[in-house]
Structure formats: structure tokens, C-alpha cells
Symmetry: C2
Subunit: 332 residues, 2 copies
């Protein structure tokens, strides 16, 4: 179909084929309003571009306009990938409508892979979690100036993703089922320590607000019987409900309780966080917190666009759709 064999179709090809200048073609294809182009010419150009299968050369555009229109999302190496894809999909979609594209990279702290910001020069780098100072200086050294979150001198929201609601819902759910003394199942995985701290703090806050005593914190992984020990501690302390940092921790608690001959939820009710796909497969099935990943994706996209173009933030939080998914592990 192409007039030239195997070569890329450029705007010059379209122009030549119509006997017009390349500039005219450029004006039409960019929809420039500075320059008036007659309707007839505009149509001819568009038709011919479509016929030849013209695609703008991204590298040339990036070079000329000095911006790649790329947004890089750094995904931490958390074991929550199953749901991140929803979030990314939604963020991509929102960004596309603004003419930007989203590229993701999973960031391994110990990994040796070169970060993509070195060679895509994205306009904005977005992360789920704040970046380390090292990462920030590395990015700045590569010309990345817009980093979200992590550069605001006076951050209005300490938690840029606004995910406080999950732990609160966990606590309130257990309390509604009659559990007053609660435990918190933490992980020793250092990759997510910040997230654990954040969720624990939110849970403690919710407990205090509900007039409950502070949660008894135990780590449920790391050593072979950490979970068993935690369960024993909790039961001795009359803890009847456990808020788990995530579904993995919840599964560990439940497994240890069953192996200790206890019944879940009769002896110990457990609720996880993130609503991993396998929570429904467990016996007993695990209650959890479903996060609105689509909303989170839109929120991330908005933050990125705000950084890129100064577009104002819509302001509606992302917590709205966070909800408890009640299953057997907290049945009353």
C-alpha cells in the first residue's frame, strides 16, 4: 500500500504527494490555530495522511518540542502487583486524554537495572511512595524536575495517595462484630516498612477514636513460627480480633490459628487488606479491604498532570470507594 517500500512515512511524504509544502501539512496535523488553512486543503491533507498511514515520529517530536510527553510511574517492589495493573490501566487512560502516555517501571531497591528516567526523559516521574533522597538527586541529575510525590517544600497531605481509610474500616468492622481488644499483624519485610507504619498509625488512630485500647502489634513473618507466637500472645491477652497489614499477614495469622487448633473466626477474627484474589479461596475465606484502584489511578494521573501542566487538582479524594469485603474470617 505504501508508495515507498519499507520506509517510514513522513510529513514530507504527505506534502509531496499533494504538491503542498511540509509546513502546511504540519499545520493541519497539529491543528494549529495561528495559521488559517482552507477547509478543502485541510481535508485533503488529513485524507492523504490517513491513506499513506502517516505516523508522527515520536523522537523527532520530542526533540523539537523539548518534551517527551511521557510520564513514568515507578512501582515499588511490593507484593501487591495483582491490583496495580487496574490502577495503571486507569491512569493511562486519564493521561491519554491529556495527550500524555504512561510508562511504568518496577523499582527494585537492590536491582541493578538502570532506571528508565535516564533514557526516556519523562516529563514527570510519579511514585506510589515518596522517593528516597538518593533517587531524587539521581533524577534531578538526569534533568527530571517534576517528581510526585516528594518535592513540595510544605506538603499539605502527608500521605499523598490519601489512603487512610482502609485501616479505619478494618478497626470499625471488627468493632461492629463485637471485638474490643485488637491485635495488629505486621510484616518484617523491609520493602514495605513505610506502608506498614502508615497503616498501623491509621489503625491506632481509628482505635483511639472509637474508644478502644491500642492495638497489640506482632510481627507474623520472618521466623518460622512468628505467626504462631503472635497468635499465642494475642489469645493470652484476650485479643479477639486482628487487623492485618495485608492479606498475606492475615493468611499467616489464620494458618497459625488453625494449626494451633483454634477456630477462625470464633476464637480469633481476622481481617486483611487489599482484597487479594486468593482471599476468597482460603478456608475460611478472608475478609479484607477493597481499594478503589481505578480511582487511585485517576488520582495519580491527576497528580501527574498537575505537575506537568499546572492543571488544577479536582480535590475529591480517593478514599471514597474503599470498602470492607466481609467474608468468613470475621463472620459473627
Amino acid at each position: 500500500m505504501g508508495t515507498k517500500a519499507g520506509k517510514r512515512v513522513t510529513a514530507a511524504d504527505v506534502a509531496r504527494s499533494l504538491g503542498l509544502s511540509r509546513a502546511t501539512v504540519g499545520f493541519v496535523l497539529n491543528g494549529t490555530t495561528e495559521q488559517r488553512i482552507s477547509e478543502a486543503t485541510r481535508d485533503r491533507v488529513l485524507a492523504e495522511a490517513a491513506r499513506l498511514g502517516y505516523r508522527p515520529h515520536t523522537a523527532a517530536q520530542a526533540l523539537r518540542r523539548g518534551s517527551s510527553r511521557l510520564i513514568l510511574l515507578i512501582i515499588p517492589d511490593w507484593p501487591v502487583d495483582f491490583s496495580v495493573s487496574k490502577c495503571v490501566e486507569e491512569a493511562s487512560h486519564t493521561l491519554e486524554e491529556a495527550g500524555y502516555s504512561l510508562v511504568t517501571q518496577t523499582h527494585h531497591p537492590v536491582g541493578t537495572a538502570r532506571p528508565l528516567w535516564e533514557l526516556l526523559d519523562p516529563e514527570v516521574v510519579v511514585g506510589f511512595a515518596p522517593f528516597t533522597p538518593d533517587d531524587v538527586t539521581a533524577m534531578q541529575g538526569c534533568g527530571v524536575t517534576k517528581i510526585v510525590p516528594g518535592l513540595e517544600p510544605n506538603p499539605s497531605t502527608p500521605d499523598p495517595l490519601g489512603l487512610h481509610d482502609g485501616p479505619r474500616l478494618q478497626v470499625e468492622h471488627l468493632r461492629a462484630r463485637g471485638h474490643e481488644r485488637l491485635g495488629f499483624a505486621a510484616t518484617s519485610d523491609s520493602r514495605v516498612s513505610g506502608l506498614v507504619e502508615s497503616r498501623l498509625a491509621a489503625a491506632q488512630e481509628a482505635a483511639a477514636a472509637s474508644g478502644l485500647p491500642p492495638l497489640v502489634v506482632r510481627t507474623v513473618d520472618g521466623s518460622p513460627d512468628a505467626a504462631g507466637q503472635a497468635v499465642q500472645d494475642w489469645l493470652r491477652g484476650d485479643v479477639t480480633g486482628v487487623v492485618a497489614y495485608n492479606d498475606d499477614s492475615a493468611a499467616r495469622v489464620i494458618g497459625a490459628a488453625i494449626r494451633a487448633g483454634r477456630d477462625v473466626p470464633a476464637d480469633l477474627a481476622v481481617i486483611g487488606h487489599d482484597d487479594s484474589p486468593y482471599t476468597a479461596l482460603f478456608v475460611p475465606s478472608i475478609s479484607s479491604i477493597r481499594i478503589d484502584y481505578a480511582g487511585l489511578g485517576r488520582h495519580l494521573a491527576e497528580l501527574a498532570l498537575h505537575a506537568a501542566t499546572g492543571q488544577p487538582l479536582s480535590g475529591d479524594g480517593v478514599d471514597a470507594a474503599t470498602a470492607v469485603v466481609a467474608r468468613e474470617s470475621t463472620a459473627s
Copy 2:
């Protein structure tokens, strides 16, 4: 530190700062062997480039040399993300040594997000699974000519990733534990139907090779009690061991068996596939197949480099490190 304020450092800046021509700087930075450059000048250039913090402009390079040196890996929307990151990390590393960079995108068949190959114009697009004809023509329309796998007119390996060993190991593991009549737990998830077929075929082949009767195939999801029905069918048919398509299917089978008052593995032994992190958390813990994701990543990288540069394939398969992880669900 920069001589100019806030602007990108170009090769011309380095040249000007040294009183040399831009070409000389270019030759040094590219390590061109065509053109001899004195050792002294070379050192001066490198030192000055480092001092000024010079970074080549990727878009300009891509424009000039006509290739982006990017390789796009399309990750299917399978629920196996947890381990893909290992694979990607390793592939990135291998590709970097060859001067290429890896960008990944999760591909949602129903998603509306624009595929990245439209705007990164990657040199090669690699996929875990063969692409659909639609995708292939879309890529070709965007100038992507090198697609792996899926373009070989006479494919020597029907399974480009060479993952036949897993199902064979599952069958042999159950057989070694004394199970002769086996079932196969499939999923109705259409996204992975090709993978299911492939694993089932490999399992049937292994059964035949071991002199076992064909596996009794049942789907264990889709309807609420599909797994319960499957378990009932198997037990009635004297099936004592189940090869599951993946760990999710295995978990469904085990859950259904327990809820039916059966014991796993005494009444029914089950082995999963992929060694998902949660297999160890189940009660009983789930035996599974660990795949060498690092090796798979290197293999993918090799395939990509082969397509990009014609570099020969090393030939050693990726199956070598595939292994059974024996847990409670198949204990004898």
C-alpha cells in the same frame, strides 16, 4: 555547578568548553573506532563531559540513528504478576549489557489504553504469549517489524518460551507418590485459555509417557460450585491426584475438598503451578512448580536481542531450573 542555568547540557557545550569541535566530542563519546582521537583529547573530553554532567539526548539519538534501542515487553493480564517482576528485572539487566532498554506494558485485551508501541517505536516487541493477528497488524502498521514470538513462518518451537517441563514434573511428582488416576483442574478464564491448553497438553503427554491413563479434566471456577462438582467427579472416578493449571486452581480444589469433608492429601493430593507466594500460607500448604523466572528473563532477552541484532541464540533452554516444591498438599 552547571555553567548555563537550568538548561540541558549538550555535546556542543562540552565541545565549546574545551575549544574543540562537536564532532570530536561525538567521536569520543561514541567510542567510534573509525576516527582516531589522541589519548589526551579523549581524556579531556570524558572529564569535561562528566564535569558538566552531560547526558545524551535520547530523542535526538533515536532520531539520528533511526532506532530507539528500546525493547517493549508486553505482559499479558494474567494473575501471575507476582513473579513476572523477577523475570523482567533479569531481562532488563541482560538487555542493558547490550545497550538496549526494556519497557514493559501490561496488555488488557478489553482495555482502552493505547499500546506503547505506537509512541515509543521500539525496535522489538516481545510477548510472553503469541500475539493475536490483530495486534500483529497493528504493530506492523506502526512500523514495528520485529515481533517475538509470532512471525516465524516455520516455528521450530511451538512453545517459544519452552515451558513444557512444569506439567511433566507435576505428573511425575504425583505418580512418584503413588497416584495413578489423575485429574486436571482447568480455569474458565479466557485470558489464559492458550496457556491452559498448552499445560494440559504437556500434562497429557507426560501421563501417556508414564503409562498413566489420560487426565480427567474439570473446570474449577466460573460457577459457584464448579470446584465442588469437580472434586465429586474425581473422587467418584477414583482419581486420587490432581494436577492444577496453576496455584489458584489448586487452591480452589483444596478448598472444595475440605468443605466437602475430605482430607488433603489423604483423599485427594493436589499440586499447583507457579509457586505463588501464598501457596505456603494455605492450610494445607500447596505443593507447586517453581519456575526459573530469572532464566526465563534471560531467555526473553536473548530472543529480543536475536531479533534486534541477529545475535545467535545460546540454545540452552529455560526449563533447566524448573522444579517441584513439595508441600503438604501432596505429602504421602
